[in-house]
């Protein structure tokens, strides 16, 4: 017994150096201290060197007058606004193109991804060719393809293509009539909201009824009728308070109406097409990942192929699809900074201009990095919530 006790005490009697707990604590503290010390040293050195080189520093410049104009301004902006507001315009432009791109890329991606598993040889091959082309070209080239290859060769404003509904297409972009809502148009909005609520209610009741009685109700068509019908009824009741501002030819450009500039169009189309190729592969992998027995079992229960895909396969595939999908959304957002090559005023472009006009490179780059970091973290957070809701619920 005595000898055993001695043996057991021996490790702790040696010294602290041999205690694994203390050792790991020591090294962790050391790493943290070193990390913070080096960060502090770098920051301090930057400040010292900036002062030595007589370069202004700090973020006061954000409140100064910008003095330059921006082509796409989703919020009110003139050259009299501040540098801070110019950066905000850039950030909003980035968000607009990222959100629009994500939605379109997801739709194209799902269609192509499901298409690659089609039984139809032609559809399958077309989808394969699409994926292989766009997945293997750098995004910058895809952007240039749309900008210089497709949109720049359109006719000049005086020879625009006339499209239906008073819209035009030329090398300055896509023009369509702007809607101007008159008095009483609030009624239409109210009708729309009421219709949405009613559609939700119908769907809810229909599900309850199907659960208890097994009888089905045509939810989809009822909802469409409600959501389209009620606002149209309200529109007629309010005395059709809608006029259009059509684009018209003027000295240089078409004026009036609503213009989507080629810079935005090419960036949006390029990002959508490029990312859609990756999403298609993720969707295909997700569907392939659902065991074949699942659809066979659903078939044995008498479900047709449409409901099998919609009710059995896709919900399970989504669990596989969502985590890599998040990465693609983040990639799309970050790739939107390639806008600088074609002059779309996104965050990188406007921050670059601000950086150059003020000469405050350190602050400018810092703002850009923080903005993209925050955007990406928000996207991840949203996708994590979606993922958690989709995750397998054990019953």
């Amino acid at each position: 017994m005595a000898s055993q006790e001695i043996l057991r005490e021996e490790p702790s009697r040696g010294s602290f150096i041999n205690d694994p707990k203390i050792r790991s604590l020591f090294f962790q503290t050391l790493v943290v201290v070193l990390l913070f010390a080096s960060i502090w040293w770098i920051v301090n050195n930057v400040i010292e060197n900036l002062q030595r080189l007589h370069i202004a520093s700090g973020f006061q410049f954000l409140r100064n007058r910008a003095g330059f104009d921006i082509s796409d301004t989703p919020i009110a902006y003139t050259s009299d606004a501040t540098y801070g507001r110019a950066l905000l315009v850039g950030l909003i432009n980035t968000i607009i193109v990222a959100v629009a791109g994500i939605i379109t890329a997801t739709i194209i991606g799902f269609v192509i991804g499901i298409g690659r598993l089609s039984h139809n040889w032609l559809i399958r091959k077309i989808c394969t060719v699409y994926v292989e082309i766009f997945r293997n070209i750098p995004p910058l080239l895809v952007i240039f393809f749309w900008y210089s290859g497709v949109l720049a060769v359109l006719p000049p404003p005086r020879e625009s293509y006339h499209l239906p509904f008073g819209s035009f297409l030329n090398q300055r972009g896509f023009y369509f009539p702007r809607t101007i809502w008159g008095d009483g148009s609030w009624l239409i909005l109210v009708a729309f909201i009421v219709a949405l609520a009613m559609a939700w209610f119908v769907a809810h009741r229909a599900r309850q009824r199907q659960m208890s009685t097994g009888q089905q109700f045509p939810v989809f068509w009822t909802s469409v009728a409600l959501i389209v019908g009620l606002p149209v009824l309200a529109f007629l009741l309010a005395g059709m308070p809608l006029t259009f501002d059509f684009p018209k030819q003027s000295t240089f450009n078409l004026t009036g109406g609503f213009q989507i500039k080629p810079e935005f169009l090419s960036l949006y189309l390029a990002l959508s097409c490029y990312t859609a190729a990756f999403i298609a592969e993720i969707v295909r992998a997700g569907i392939k990942g659902v065991s074949k027995g699942q659809s066979e079992a659903a078939g044995a229960l008498g479900l047709r192929s449409g409901p099998i895909l919609r009710l059995v396969v896709i919900p399970q595939a989504m669990r596989i699809v969502i985590p890599p999908l998040t990465s693609q959304y983040l990639n799309l957002t970050k790739n939107s900074s390639l806008a600088i090559a074609i002059g779309y005023p996104d965050l990188t472009a406007t921050a670059g201009t601000v950086l150059n006009q003020t000469g405050q490179a350190v602050e400018g780059v810092f703002i850009m990095m923080i903005a993209y970091l925050v955007l990406s973290l928000i996207t991840s957070a949203v996708m994590n919530v979606v993922n958690a809701r989709m995750a397998l619920v054990e019953r």
């Binding site: 060197n49 370069i55 202004a56 330059f68 104009d69 050259s79 950086l355």
Partner: protein, 342 residues
């Protein structure tokens, strides 16, 4: 993307730079054996590579003049092409020793950006160019209301454009690119109705368009654009060398010293020329600057005097054919005036 890389590199360079006062630029330059000169990515007449890859233009020649003053050899220059956005960070972070890139001298750049402008090697002003074939009847910039205007980002041009349209209560649609080639391509393809930059630049760019004869430069000059080289603030010796190289070019022209006759001129008895060329007995004007006494001889042998530099690159000896105008010497009614070497 590149400007971000330079921005980060610049930030990193600032972060890791030794905080103790570093050696002067002259010593560093002498040690490495060449001058790193920041130029444009290609603007005819100012700094553009020719078909053999040699940089040509007033701005490139100015760097050669400084190299000749320092090393006695005008070829000891390495050129770094920079976009408008990258140029200041490159100079601040020490990537280049001198910025000679059709850069406008402004108070903000001279103070808050940590630059020190050397002088005005070219007095310019901003103008507009349009395609006269597509827009017949437009003969003044005041008719440009509603036009799409191509402009390079991060320039004083971009700011003057905003001010000009605001002052004249006109609307416009800015089409902004980072690189000169991108602006040129967009204008050439018809994306914009007008192109704005310094007038000298417009003449240079017109030559590169697909049909130069269709384009006209409108008469309005909307701003003052004194273009000149800049160095880092806080190194007086290096700033003096750059500044007096510029003055030496002007003084050489005024004294009639040219690339061809500089060796004959060395035997001149004119005390003014003797002081300039370092042949005055006991004169040490070059040594006082940290250079050799025959520094002006080296400069003129390398690039000629200011007038020769001008005519060769943008004047009658070039495709641009720009008249001297206000860039003539003060003795001929222009603004170029070199303080005396004595």
């Amino acid at each position: 993307m590149k400007h971000i890389a330079i921005g980060i590199l610049g930030a990193a360079a600032l972060g890791f730079m030794a905080s103790a006062a570093s050696a002067g630029t002259l010593d560093t330059v002498k040690q490495k054996g060449f001058i790193q000169c920041g130029v444009s990515t290609g603007l005819a007449g100012f700094s553009a590579p020719d078909d053999k890859g040699d940089w040509k233009g007033i701005d490139a020649d100015f760097c050669r003049a400084v190299a000749a003053a320092v090393f006695g050899d005008g070829s000891k220059v390495k050129f770094t092409p920079l976009s408008a956005k990258e140029r200041f960070t490159a100079l601040q972070s020490g990537e280049i020793d001198i910025l000679s890139r059709n850069t406008t001298w402004t108070s903000n750049r001279d103070s808050a950006l940590g630059l020190d402008f050397v002088g005005v090697t070219y007095y310019d002003g901003q103008g507009f160019m349009i395609n006269a074939k597509k827009l017949p009847g437009v003969n003044s910039a005041l008719q440009l209301s509603g036009a799409a205007v191509c402009v390079q980002s991060g320039t004083t041009t971009e700011l003057n454009l905003a001010d000009y349209f605001k002052k004249n209560k006109m609307e416009y649609n800015p089409v902004v690119f980072e690189k000169l080639e991108e602006v040129n391509a967009a204008y050439d393809s018809g994306r914009c109705d007008a192109y704005t930059t310094d007038q000298s630049g417009l003449y240079g760019i017109r030559l590169t368009l697909s049909s130069p004869a269709d384009h006209v430069v409108l008469p309005e000059i909307i701003s003052k654009e004194p273009l000149g080289p800049a160095v880092r603030q806080g190194d007086d010796q290096w700033a003096h060398i750059a500044r007096w190289t510029y003055f030496a070019l002007l003084n050489a022209e005024e004294a009639g010293i040219t690339q061809a006759n500089v060796d004959e001129m060395k035997s001149s008895t004119d005390p003014n020329i003797q002081r300039l060329l370092g042949t005055e007995p006991d004169g040490k004007y070059g040594a006082d600057l940290g250079l050799s006494n025959d520094w002006v001889v080296n400069i003129v042998k390398a690039v000629g005097n200011y007038g020769e530099m001008f005519e060769r690159n943008v004047g009658s000896g070039s495709p641009l054919k720009i008249a001297r105008g206000i860039n003539a010497l003060w003795t001929k009614g222009g603004l170029q005036y070199g303080p005396p070497v004595r």
